[in-house]
């Protein structure tokens, strides 16, 4: 049976989830974008109303399924769809938005318990000049939610930036999240 693993991209509307998945997927990404009919139409023509989907084929290592989930709390139930086999999460922030921190706060309020169990990367998208203040504010917010994750500035349209996210994600998975053997090997008084 083919192994399947999952990575999830979570963020507010317009944060760049669809762009990330389209940049990586080996199959035409499945998107549930519809035309915006609310104030979001001022920022983008369409938005995702359910989840995005793409795949990376890993040869004998199976497939890596890529999901994009909206960060708003009303979509919280969708996480259960992707929970099984989930390896890590990328939290995307629209750094160009005046409400970037509010969007991140809602995402973390919604998903902090799940994110705390996963390797996680926080990616500040859409503003290459995103300042240290914004990055530090994001790190502080992560810390207040008990989450430990690197925060990096990316352009989700650039493949090398997405590779940086994955490098950090898999570095944490490989070095920090596989502790079963260590627990067995070290007996502590």
């Amino acid at each position: 049976m083919t192994q399947t693993h999952k990575i999830v991209f979570i963020g507010e509307p317009g944060a760049g989830k669809t762009t990330c998945i389209a940049a990586l997927s080996h199959v035409p990404p499945v998107s549930t974008d519809v035309a915006c009919t609310d104030e979001l139409a001022e920022r983008k023509a369409t938005t995702t109303v359910a989840l995005d989907y793409g795949e990376l084929h890993l040869g004998d290592q199976g497939r890596l399924l890529l999901y994009g989930l909206p960060g708003q709390s009303r979509f919280r139930f969708m996480f259960d769809v992707v929970r099984e086999g989930l390896l890590g999460a990328v939290v995307l922030v629209d750094a160009s938005s005046a409400t970037a921190m509010e969007g991140l706060a809602e995402t973390l309020d919604t998903y902090a318990p799940e994110l705390g169990q996963l390797p996680c990367v926080l990616a500040l998208n859409k503003d290459a000049r995103a300042g240290e203040d914004l990055r530090q504010a994001c790190l502080d917010l992560l810390r207040r939610h008990g989450l430990v994750a690197p925060a990096i500035v990316v352009d989700a349209r650039r493949r090398e930036d997405i590779i940086r996210m994955f490098d950090l994600l898999f570095m944490q998975l490989e070095l920090g999240f596989d502790d079963t053997e260590a627990r067995e090997a070290n007996a502590w008084a």
């Binding site: 810390r143 994750a149 590779i163 490098d167 260590a182 090997a185």
Partner: protein, 238 residues
Amino acid sequence: MSTERPVDRPLPLVHATESPTMAALRTPRRAYRLACPNFGADEIKALRSMFSLLQHHLKQPWEIVQDAEADLLIVNLDSGPPGSLPPEVPVIGCALKPRQHPSGTLHRPLRAGELLALLTEQAGSAPVAAEVPPPSVGGLAERRFRLLAWPAGFEQWPAGWHRVLASISREARSPADIAARTGVPEAEVGRCLDKLESDGLVDVMVFHPRPDAKAPAPRQGRWSGLAARVGLLLGFPR
């Protein structure tokens, strides 16, 4: 003959041979005595408060003394040489940056966990103090580090340090364990941990390894194969 012992920084952890006081402790049980000769009044006050909380967790009673002969000395390494110290009494250093001092140096301000470990160990080892391994082999306790937050500017740090950060993002690990997991030399791991500790980005916990605990060996984690495959596919090295 002078009983003064010159103390230069860095002060080594001293496991003295059994003192007359320790020998006296063997049979009639009385409280062990801790002295902190160059601590400020506020630090002594905080220590007394901590002591009252720790007493319930200690097998032997301890008390803080100022003038009486002590069974154990804790010296503040940040306040310069402590002057004359009684001979043949075990001395433990404490400092704001303990990693810049010999193994076994405690964190200052003193932390309850570290203090509990020290007092338990010291009381338990007093009758056989001469058999305790010397400081070069290891301190009284092993310090483990857990990341509280990634540094904002971590991308400017050496690549090997990123691996150190990743390795302690979920579990508290000792420098030796981190080195074994990441392949980063332990001295380099130490430098990274020093930086994290000075920036307040790590939580430090003290553990007592069992005598039969094995040293961590280089290992490949469960996800190494998958990480290598994804890295090969996308173009990041593993």
